[in-house]
């Protein structure tokens, strides 16, 4: 047996290109479905674990998937906005604790999540360095954001402008990093958390500028009455909130009408949850309440339906590849007829020749298995990050 494998090994190692091609084919054809299965299982685990731990989400009517993906995983796709009144309504119902979420802006590619301190308690997020949000303009970083941007408490982080070429658009706000969260292996690791009001400042709904009643430059004043002074666009707005200028920051209008993207509702009990859900069933209702678990389950059903199609495609490709490999072997046998005749003349049994060829196939399969195993091991090691990179934030 050793001699058979020795000769087979000499053959496959001599024909390097042919062997490498066959090994690559077999490796890929076995790696693809296995890695896909692994990644889908990991994505299912990650998506479901966060969805299951979030009882209810209130948002604008429309795509429930966009709403859940934005609220739970801070996806770029921002749902229709609702107002703080929606959160107040949940609070007033006395059925659930509302946690408003405003996940709309970004800072250096990371989502800025405006929320309240309840969110940190709800998710069990703990501060690893620095302190919790306290003052307007503060931000707390998820562990991976701090790592990737190399930021620590005391540093600053500038929000990204919404549109580069829109002069009237959202101006970047320089935020003060006051804390870094412990790693949670969830989407929270990749977020920049701010207070809701800081989110509104980023949007320009809250702003800080010099006292318009004391303006002397006539080009800065549009209209001055006894009760009101209207400034021109030339008036300088602060782009950083400091101890000196914090008092100049203010919000116009009713805060209850300020925008948020969603409200996470934490019902006091199952009955409260059911009642609360019933209140959003009216046709005239402009908001919806969803169970993230149901939404993600629906998403996964679709993903697995697509996976079944993909499995079928991979099976056909695998069959084609196997047939091609069989053809390669058959053609190689024809090319090796003379060699086979020689070793037959030397006294080799036909069964031994078949054993030699089988040993060559076995070696190629084992090599492919090793490569496939190594790749699967790598995918398994990095599946958490890969899933976040490929499927969810």
């Amino acid at each position: 047996m050793f001699d058979t494998f020795y000769i087979a090994w000499r053959y496959v190692s001599f024909n390097k290109i042919k062997t490498a091609t066959l090994v690559a084919c077999v490796t890929l054809i076995s790696f693809l479905p296995l890695s896909l299965q692994l990644l889908l299982e990991e994505s299912e685990r990650q998506l479901m674990s966060r969805a299951v731990s979030t009882p209810l989400v209130v948002g604008a009517k429309g795509s429930s998937l966009d709403l859940v993906m934005n609220t739970l995983y801070f996806d770029d796709e921002v749902p229709e906005l609702i107002t703080v009144a929606a959160s107040n309504s949940v609070m007033d119902s006395d059925l659930a604790l509302p946690i408003p979420v405003y996940a709309r802006f970004q800072a250096r590619g990371n989502p800025i999540v405006g929320t309240t301190l309840d969110y940190f308690d709800f998710r069990g997020l703990r501060i690893a360095q620095g302190r919790q949000l306290a003052v307007l303009g503060d931000c707390v970083l998820g562990a991976k954001v701090a790592d990737s941007l190399d930021l620590k408490p005391g540093d600053s982080l500038v929000s990204s402008p919404e549109t580069l070429f829109d002069l009237a658009g959202v101006y970047p706000l320089k935020m003060k990093v006051v804390g870094v969260l412990e790693k949670s292996h969830t989407s929270d690791d990749l977020a920049v958390f701010v207070d809701l009001k800081t989110g509104w400042v980023i949007q320009g709904l809250g702003h800080g500028h010099e006292d318009v009643t004391k303006l002397r430059d006539p080009t800065l004043v549009l209209k001055r009455t006894e009760k009101n002074v209207a400034a021109t666009a030339k008036l300088y707005h602060h782009t950083e909130i400091t101890e000196k200028n914090i008092d100049s920051f203010h919000f116009h209008g009713d805060l209850a009408q300020y925008p948020i993207t969603a409200v996470i509702a934490l019902p006091h009990d199952d009955k409260s949850g059911t009642i609360l859900r019933g209140r959003y069933l009216s046709r005239e209702e402009t908001q919806q309440i969803v169970r993230p678990e149901d939404v993600i389950d629906g998403l996964l059903q679709n993903i697995f339906r697509i996976k079944n199609v993909l499995d079928a495609v991979i099976s056909v490709v695998a069959l084609a590849t196997i047939l091609a490999i069989v053809l390669v072997f058959a053609l190689s046998l024809r090319l090796r007829q003379r060699e086979i005749q020689t070793i037959f003349k030397l006294g080799c049994r036909r069964a031994t020749i078949a054993r030699l060829l089988s040993a060559e196939i076995f070696i190629i399969v084992i090599m492919s298995g090793v490569f496939c195993g190594a790749l699967i091991f790598l995918v398994n090691q990095f599946s958490h990050d890969l899933v976040r990179m490929l499927f969810i934030r």
């Binding site: 001699d3 058979t4 000769i7 000499r10 053959y11 003379r338 003349k345 030397l346 006294g347």
Partner: protein, 221 residues
């Protein structure tokens, strides 16, 4: 050593037919077989080696009647009694010289590969003047060197009979003489018998006997 009686063989009825009423080679004899292409010289070697079986008549090598053996017995007979040397050397390009010489031992259970055989393979290669090329790939050798490797491979199991099919056919004139010298010397050293098919008429005088195959040629009526 070789005894053939009333042998008849053809591949398909109506085509080439080999008829050998009587043919014999004594032990230690070096016999050349000549004849035109297609006269059945290689077929004779294959019949003696047990690669084919005659339709009629008997083929015996020593005490063994080859034509009476079954497949397995003929294979065992071939590997232990016959050494083949081919015109195109028939070396395996994916094996080095040493592995090519040892190849018959690796592909059959009838021969046991042990340390003694490895030492003997090295000695044979040194005797053949290729002792320094044992680790070289067979593709990297000249034709003369390849045929020396093939002779080493044929001689290693110490066969009683060497069958050489145009062994010098692909060699230049200098190498032809040299290879034949080495083959004769090895055959004598091992007390073997040599039956060589050749078209090299200038080499015939060096054989003990020359058999012209035209005498056996015939066609089905």
């Amino acid at each position: 050593m070789i005894s053939i009686r009333s042998l008849e063989f053809y591949y398909r009825p109506g085509e080439f037919r080999l008829n050998i009423p009587e043919f014999s080679v004594t032990k230690g004899e070096k016999v050349a077989v000549i004849g035109p292409s297609g006269s059945g010289k290689t077929t004779l070697l294959n019949l003696i080696a047990g690669l084919m079986t005659p339709l009629k008549g008997t083929v015996s090598v020593g005490e063994i009647q080859v034509s009476g053996l079954d497949d397995r017995e003929r294979r065992d007979f071939r590997i232990t009694n016959i050494g083949f040397v081919f015109q195109d050397f028939e070396l395996l390009d994916y094996l080095n010289v040493f592995d090519n010489v040892l190849h018959p031992y690796r592909i059959t259970g009838a021969l046991k590969l042990d340390k003694e055989k490895r030492v003997r393979a090295t000695t044979l290669a040194q005797d053949m003047g290729i002792g320094d090329k044992l680790k070289r790939n067979s593709n990297d050798l000249s034709h003369g060197e390849k045929q020396r490797v093939a002779i080493c491979r044929a001689l290693l199991p110490q066969p009683k009979l060497i069958l050489a099919d145009e062994a010098t056919g692909n060699l230049d004139p200098d190498n032809k003489g040299l290879i034949l010298d080495l083959l004769f010397q090895s055959v004598e050293d091992h007390g073997a018998t040599l039956l060589a098919v050749t078209h090299d008429y200038e080499l015939l005088k060096r054989f003990d006997r020359v058999v012209d195959f035209r005498q056996f040629e015939g066609h089905d009526k």
